[in-house]
């Protein structure tokens, strides 16, 4: 049970009990704030949980549930997911969806269906199928899933083109919300890494001794500059 004591310039020193830091770090990753609750640092736990989760879910919401997905295939390398994964469990459904759609399966939690790339009316390809434009279409459709990669990836004939076009359609329909949603979820994931660090090592408080050392270094630098 490592306990860190931070001496203060005035008042009592700050004592932080990290308990099991590895377990705390894991909990902090899996659910923002959970590691701090485990360490009984409730105020910070709530702060991390509210800030990080609200940012993440706001981003996911304005991105209509499509901005967090796992895809590492050529033509659609979703590097942002590495950052989004920092938020822990809320990003994990993307991995489940990726595994489900990997070998041609339909995603769980279908959001909408689209006309395929080779639809007879080519101007409607990749468009959402609605009661107005349906015309009793019964063929294979592209399915958008919640936190699933862009649909149409498993058409062996036109794999890369279809995939890219579905993603392009998402950008077109979402306008700037797709990028903003991506940005918010990426930042939420990265912020949770700071929270994980805080749960593992404690806060990076500058102690009076460290402050003195920094100030003396600054003074030395200034002296050198003035001599030159």
């Amino acid at each position: 049970m490592p306990e860190i004591v931070y001496p203060q310039e005035s008042g009592e020193p700050v004592v932080v009990d990290l308990k099991d830091p590895y377990w705390a770090a894991f909990l902090a990753w899996i659910w923002p704030g959970a590691g701090h609750f485990y360490q009984k640092r409730y105020a910070k736990g709530f702060l991390f949980m509210i800030c990080i989760l609200s940012t993440y879910f706001f981003g996911l919401g304005i991105g209509q549930g499509r901005v967090v997905y796992a895809s590492f295939k050529p033509g659609n390398l979703r590097w942002q997911f590495v950052c989004q994964l920092g938020v822990g469990a809320p990003a994990l459904p993307a991995i489940i969806q990726s595994m489900k759609t990997k070998k041609g399966g339909d995603p769980y939690w279908v959001l909408c269906e689209r006309f395929p790339a080779d639809y007879s009316n080519s101007s409607l390809a990749f468009h959402k199928i609605t009661p107005e434009n349906n015309n009793d279409y019964t063929g294979e459709t592209i399915k958008d899933g919640f936190m699933a990669p862009p649909g149409g990836m498993n058409n062996p004939r036109r794999r890369s083109r279809v995939q890219t076009d579905t993603l392009g359609r998402w950008h077109f329909e979402g306008k700037h919300y797709f990028e903003m949603g991506t940005l918010f979820t990426v930042i939420a994931g990265l912020l949770n890494l700071l929270a994980v660090y805080d749960a593992f090592c404690g806060p990076a408080i500058i102690t009076p001794a460290q402050r003195e050392m920094l100030e003396s270094k600054k003074k030395k630098k200034n002296k050198r500059k003035s001599k030159q």
Partner: protein
């Protein structure tokens, strides 16, 4: 540089303003979380966050101003 290009630029800036508002919650959240990793006391966290937020807004304003000035260079 003609009058119309300035009008267009102003129009573009006005059109971008709703998107600039997205920065506000991000600045608040980033400042709070960063402040929380530097302190344990809630009051110190808030004070650090405020300083951080002011710094962020100042830095972004400088960049905004530089880009805005660069827009006249054509």
């Amino acid at each position: 540089m003609n009058v119309f290009s300035i009008v267009d630029l102003d129009h573009l800036l006005l059109a971008a303003i709703p998107q600039i508002w997205y920065a506000l919650p991000l600045i608040v959240v980033v400042s709070l979380v960063y402040g929380a990793t530097r302190h344990e006391n809630l009051r110190e966290i808030l004070a650090h966050s405020l300083r951080n937020a002011v710094w962020c807004v100042g830095f972004m304003s400088i960049i905004f101003f530089l880009i805005w000035i660069a827009g006249f260079w054509n």
